[in-house]
Structure formats: C-alpha cells, structure tokens
C-alpha cells in the first residue's frame, strides 16, 4: 500500500500527463469528423485568404484608414488600462490584506476582495461590453468600463500576490523604525513591487490592445471594426493590412516592455529609456482621454442619465425575470438541461483547443529557443538553425498578435459553425503565446546537464529525451494549464461569431432579448470558469 502510494507520488507528473492526453482525446469525439465540416467553398476561401496575405492592400486610402483605426484601438486600450490600474491599485491593496494587523480581519479582507477581483476577471471583457451597452447604450465609456473592469481584476489579483510575496525583512525594519502601515506601503511595499508590476502591466497592456480591437463587436470603431467590415465584403487583402497594423503595435509594445525591464534593472541616472517611457505614458494617457471626451464625445453626465437608469433597471429586471410573462429560464429544468449540454460542449471545445495548441507548440518549440538556435545548449550548430528560429518566432508573433475572435471570424468562412472552428480559433491564438512562453523555459534551462550529455556522445534526440524534456516538462505543464484557464474564459467569445458553445447561444439570446436565458448562460459560464480555475490549480499543485 505504502509502495503504491510512493509510486503514485513519484509518477504523479506522468499520471497527470496521461490524464491530460486522455482528456484531449475525449474532446476530439465531440466533433463528427467528416467532410461535412467544411463549407462547400471552404478550400477556395483558404486559398483566397493566403493569396491576400502575400498581397495586402497597401493603397493610400486603406493605409490612412488603418492608421486612424490603430489610434482609436490604442486610445481605448490606454483608457481601459488607466481605469484598470486604478481598480487594481485599491482592490489589490485590500486583497493582499497587508493593511490589517490582526489575523482575523486580514483573512476577511483578503477573502472579500479576492472574491470581488475573481468575479471581475471571471467575466470576459466582451461580455462586460454587451452588458454595459445594454445599460448605457453605445457610449465610448461602455467600452472603457468593459476593458477596465476585467483587466482591473486581473491586475489587482497579481498586484495582491506580489504585495504578499515581498521579502519580510525590509518591511519589519521599517516597522521597527516606527513607520505606520501606510508609510510601509510608500517606503517598503511599493518600491519593492514596482519593477514587477510595471512589466506585468505592460504585458497586460499588450493584451488590452487586442481586447480593444475586438470591442468592434459592440460597435466600437478601430481595427477590429475595419477587419469586420472588410471580412463582410470578402476583401481579404484589406483584412491583412489591418491585421499587420495590429501585429505592428503588439510587437511595438512587446519590445517596449523588454526595454523597460532591462532599463529598470540597470537603474542608470539621468535621462534614460525609463524616463522617456514614463513621459510617453503620461502623454498617451492625456491624449487618449482627451480623444475620448472631445472627439468621441463621451460624457459622464449622459452615462448617468435618467434614460440609462430606466434601461438599466429594465435590463436587470429582465435578467432576473421580474415582470416577464414567461417563466424565467433559470427556473426551468428544460432550459437548464439545454444550457448544461452547451456547457459540456464548451468544456470539450476548450480542451480540444489547448490540445491543438500544445501539439503545435511541441512541434515547433525546439528550434524556437535561442540557446538551441545558436547551438550553446546542445553544442550542435547548423546553418539553418537561425533561419528556423526566425521563422518559428515570426509564426508565434503572428499567431498571438491576432485575437481569438478575429481568427474565429476568418475561420467561420472556411468551416461550418460548430465547436471545431471555435477550438481552432482558440488554438491558433494560444499557440503563439504557449510557444513563446515554452521557448523561454528552454532558454532558461540549466545548461550543464545538457552539455554533459552532449559531450558524452548523445545524439540530438537523445539529449531532448534525457535532459531537456524532463527539465522543462513541469514548467510546460504549468503554462498549458494556465492557458487552458484563459481559453475557458474566452470560449464564450468565439461563440459570438458562430463558433459554437455557450457563446453562440448567449449572443442569440441577447439579440432576441431573452434576458433570463442570458442569466442562465452567464451562470453556466461562471460555473465553468470556476471549475476550470479549480481543476487547473489542483493540477498545477500536482505538477510541482
């Protein structure tokens, strides 16, 4: 018995891997695999899309439109992030519990505020957007709130974690020199977490740009809107032009954050990149908010008008089924059955999606690591390694810069609606992210055991099996599970464009004003997200 337990503990990583692989295979049965999955003109469409990729529309008119839309997308992302930072700052501090002296009140504060943050981020930004549009109408502030709230939840949680993880000694020293809790925040906690929080915020800003682009779904202008218009007109060459602009700003922000991280570690005096960046941030924030209030005519007063109060009341009354003629959907067992079926389908879609991206990641990740490309890890050098490295890394950037929703919009032109296009769209976006994260794991690998093996005559595949794979597997598993959690949240969104699951039904119910259905679907969605968080957390613990 003890022996069995020992074997189990020893093998738990392998057991987990087998379990995850089995889950993926199970998810594949959700699709009836046949030629019927593809639209009759699907293959021709693929060809057209690919041809357009090489020949994007670079006419002056389109480029100008693209620049304007890029600015709109960027401005909304900046405003959303400003709001998110404010939310994260206050809620994060309370959620870390560091302001509380006593264990009891600390636990209560932590519990309540972590719960709030969890709720804010559990719901996808587009779902927030749909809710705000239903309440406030198509105001620019609806989009900003929709961006700021979930990102505030994500940032706040990380901020709280970072505050909890600061080294205790400097704080204790400050306390002993008579600093109050708030003074400790200013002189201890904030300086200690500053570098980390800035680089994480930059990473999230990159995500916010993508989210801002897909706010087109609630009628916001910008890159997503143009992509949607061009797609409807089947003008794939224009679609690619806009996508290249989107990729462009994502790459720009990414390289900016790399510089920032370097700059903050070096801590030079005088005018540095960090100073420049701080000024740039302030200028961007002022310009963006100015743009929203002056050109887009956002108005706080309109937001809180009586008319909106009426709509809000009607909307929420609708959600809770008050005053409706029919029986609320969340009280009908028939509707529950239907919704749970969709939930189950959505779950399988998410598993399939992470499975696809994992496979694609494994096929490409080896040449994507810098230390393999330059031969420093395996001591094997080939002329084409750098070529492969560049190609795969470009593929990663390309895949992750394009939001899932846009991938889904393109794919529904090729595949018939269902959960397969949704899974593929999610997989395409996450493939780039997973690939980048995992390639970095290989780059951070301890070189000594690998070199030792290489010098004792192991071939490349032997090195991979005996030295690289065992060392990187736990990290890979962590990232895969983490991305699965994110995918779970996003499944609802790809459904909006007809890629199946809960999202498709959600969008339909909202369009037909079946508000109690919306409530039911949101409930199922939240359950799903919390289950995913729970499973992934448990599995990550097992992988440690």
């Amino acid at each position: 018995m003890l022996n069995l337990k020992h074997t189990f503990l020893l093998q738990r990583k392998n057991i987990l891997t087998i379990f995850l692989a089995a889950a993926f295979i199970w998810s594949l049965f959700a699709v009836t695999w046949s030629e019927d999955l593809v639209h009759s003109g699907g293959l021709a469409t693929i060809k057209q899309v690919l041809v357009a990729l090489i020949h994007p529309n670079l006419s002056q008119e389109i480029i100008q439109l693209a620049i304007e839309s890029t600015w709109i997308t960027l401005a909304y992302a900046v405003c959303g992030m400003t709001l998110a930072i404010v939310i994260a700052f206050f809620l994060g501090i309370f959620a870390s519990g560091i302001l509380h002296e006593h264990k009891g009140s600390k636990l209560i504060s932590k519990g309540i505020f972590r719960g709030i943050l969890g709720f804010l981020r559990a719901i996808h930004e587009l779902v927030w957007a749909l809710i705000f549009v239903a309440i406030f109408g198509l105001s620019p502030l609806s989009a900003i709130l929709a961006l700021g709230i979930p990102y505030g939840g994500i940032l706040g949680r990380i901020f709280a974690d970072m505050l909890n993880d600061v080294p205790k000694e400097p704080i204790q020293a400050l306390r002993s020199s008579g600093a109050s809790k708030l003074q400790c925040l200013l002189y201890g906690y904030f300086p200690l977490v500053r570098a980390n929080i800035i680089s994480y915020t930059m990473y999230r800003f990159e995500c916010a740009i993508r989210s801002s682009a897909i706010m087109s779904f609630v009628g916001l202008g910008g890159l997503g809107f143009q992509i949607q218009l061009s797609l409807n007109d089947l003008k794939y060459d224009e679609v690619w032009t806009f996508l290249f602009f989107l990729i462009g700003i994502v790459v720009l922000v990414d390289s900016c954050s790399v510089h920032i991280r370097k700059g903050m570690h070096e801590a030079k005096k005088g005018f540095t990149f960090v100073t420049f960046f701080s000024l740039l941030t302030i200028v961007l924030m002022v310009l963006s908010w100015g743009f929203i209030f002056i050109f887009e005519q956002a108005s706080l007063k309109d937001l809180l008008s009586e008319k909106n109060a009426y709509y809000a009341q009607k909307f929420f009354a609708g959600l809770f089924g008050i005053g409706g003629v029919e029986q609320p959907a969340f009280l009908s067992s028939e509707s529950w059955k239907e919704a749970l079926k969709l939930t189950y389908e959505t779950l399988r879609m998410s598993v399939m999606a992470i499975g696809f991206s994992t496979i694609a990641m494994f096929l490409t990740v080896i040449p994507a690591a810098r230390n393999i490309a330059d031969g420093s890890l395996t001591l094997i050098r080939k002329w084409y390694y750098w070529l492969l490295f560049g190609f795969v890394r470009m593929l990663y950037i390309f895949s992750r810069a394009i939001p899932e929703l846009v991938w889904a919009m393109i794919i529904v032109f090729i595949l018939k609606p269902g959960i397969l296009p949704g899974a593929i769209a999610l997989a395409l976006h996450n493939f780039g992210i997973l690939g980048k994260l995992c390639a970095e794991v290989i780059e951070d690998l301890d070189e000594r055991p690998v070199r030792n093996l290489a010098s004792s005559g192991a071939s490349k595949s032997q090195i991979l099996l005996y030295a690289v794979l065992p060392a990187v597997m736990p990290q890979f598993l962590m990232y895969i599970l983490y991305r699965w959690e994110v995918i779970m949240r996003t499944t609802i969104v790809v459904g909006f464009v007809g890629a199946g699951g809960l999202g498709q039904q959600f969008k339909m119910s909202l369009s037909f004003f079946h508000y109690t259905d919306v409530t039911l679907l949101l409930l199922c969605y939240c359950i799903l997200v919390f289950i995913a968080d729970f499973i992934s957390e448990a599995a990550r613990k097992a992988a440690k």
């Binding site: 020293a173 008579g178 109050s180 708030l182 003074q183 200013l186 005096k269």
Partner: protein
C-alpha cells in the same frame, strides 16, 4: 535584583519555548544605560530569540521584561517603541529599489505624518539631516544612488545612517556583520560602537566572532541552550571559558547523535 534607574533593560525569569524546544530558559539579568553588550554562543543557542524578544517582535511565554522603565507588554505603540528601540540585522534591512536617501529618511517615519512621507518621496524632506547622517557613516557621495547597487558594507552603513535619524535609546544588532568580509566587518563594528558612544545609546549585539566581541564591546554575555553560560565584563572573559562554551557544544552534539 537591581532596580536602579540606570538599568535600561531588566529581565526576570524570561522564558520562551518553540514547540518542544526551549529557546530561552528563565533568564534574569539587567543592562545599564551606555553598555555595549555582545551576546555570543553557538548557533541555535537563542541569541536571535533574545534580541527579538527585546524588540517585542516575539512575546515571551513567561517572565518580565522592562525596557527603559516600561513593561514590554505596554509597549504597543510602534512610534513610541521606535524611539526606545532601533534594529539592525545582517542584511535585507533596506528597500533596495529606493534611492539611499529615502532609506535613510525612513528613520524619521515615526515622526512624520502620511502626507509628509508621501511628499518626501518626490521632494525629500529634512535632506540636511540625511546628508549629515550619511557624512558620519562616510557615504555622503552616495545619497542619490539606488540602494541595491551598493555593496554589503555600504548597505549596512546606510542602515546605520537610518538609525542616526531614528535616534532610539537602545540599538539591537542581530549579527550585523555576518555577511561581510573581515575588513568590512571591523569597519562596520568600529563605526557602530563609535556612533553609539557619541549618541550615548545602549548597544546589544549578537555575534559569531569572539574576537570582535572582545575588541569592541564592554560586556560579553554567552548563551548556550537558552541559558546564560557566563555574563562578564570583557576583561574578565578568559580563554578557558570561551573554549568551554564551544567545546561543550561539540560534546552535547555527540551525545545527541
């Protein structure tokens, strides 16, 4: 038992247990104002526990502790406590990401309100006091440097400058030179003891090195297994006593294993 007002610390039957292990076993002694006390003894003897009890970070299980005339359990106001007791540790005491000046000025936080503390991060307040303290520890030119970029010895001097602004009556130093090389360790210890004398403070330090204890302190207290092994003025500490302190430890180690 002495009850004279010159006793800045009085300890009676002080006891502290961790799980089954006895960390401090009914200690009684007193320390006079202006004394330089070195606490020595083998690792795990209870030196740090004793210092943390003085700092009121650890609550004793039993016994009395009086600091500057006040029973320790009544010292709950941190700002008031900071005026009585200042701490210095072997490292990690400072916020590395802040410039040196703010780490020094943190010694004034006990007297500053929140607004002044916030303002000071942008426009340093009482800059001259900080400047003067840094001059006294020989770091005047590093006032704007990022603290993490300083060497270990320099960081410890920044911690000393902070204490100069804090002006506590008693300074507790927990292995203040453990992570420094011998030259720097002597540098810090001579500076610490010099400053303490100039400021007319009381110093209680835990140390690994017997040589340093003999060179810089007026009184040596040896602790072993949570008990006082000897407590003597520095010129009465003999080599035999010292070798007993560490020799006995090895014997008991053997007995345990």
């Amino acid at each position: 038992m002495l009850t004279s007002s010159t006793n800045i610390i009085e300890v009676k039957n002080l006891t502290k247990n961790y799980e089954r292990k006895i960390a401090l076993s009914s200690l009684s002694f007193s320390i006079k104002k202006g004394e330089l006390v070195a606490i020595i003894g083998p690792s795990g003897a209870g030196k740090t526990t004793l210092l943390n009890t003085f700092a009121t970070i650890i609550k004793p299980d039993d016994g009395f502790l009086t600091i500057a005339g006040t029973p320790s359990e009544k010292l709950t106001n941190r700002k008031a406590l900071a005026k009585k007791i200042g701490l210095i540790r072997q490292q990690f005491d400072l916020v590395g990401q802040l410039p040196v000046i703010h780490n020094v000025l943190a010694g004034r936080l006990a007297d500053w309100g929140l607004f002044k503390s916030l303002l000071s991060l942008i426009f340093p307040q009482e800059k001259q006091a900080a400047q003067k303290a840094l001059e006294r520890v020989g770091l005047a030119d590093k006032i704007k440097d990022q603290t993490a970029k300083l060497s270990g010895g320099e960081q410890q001097r920044v911690a000393l400058a902070r204490l100069l602004l804090q002006k506590p009556e008693i300074i507790l130093a927990d292995e203040p030179v453990a992570s420094l090389d011998p030259a720097r360790a002597e540098d810090i210890l001579s500076m610490l003891t010099k400053l303490v004398k100039e400021e007319n403070q009381t110093l209680i330090t835990s140390l690994h090195s017997v040589d340093y204890a003999r060179k810089y302190f007026t009184r040596i207290m040896a602790i072993k297994d949570g008990q006082i092994f000897f407590d003597l003025p520095v010129d009465e500490v003999s080599d035999e006593l010292l070798s007993d302190l560490y020799l006995l430890k090895e014997r008991s180690d053997n007995a345990e294993s």
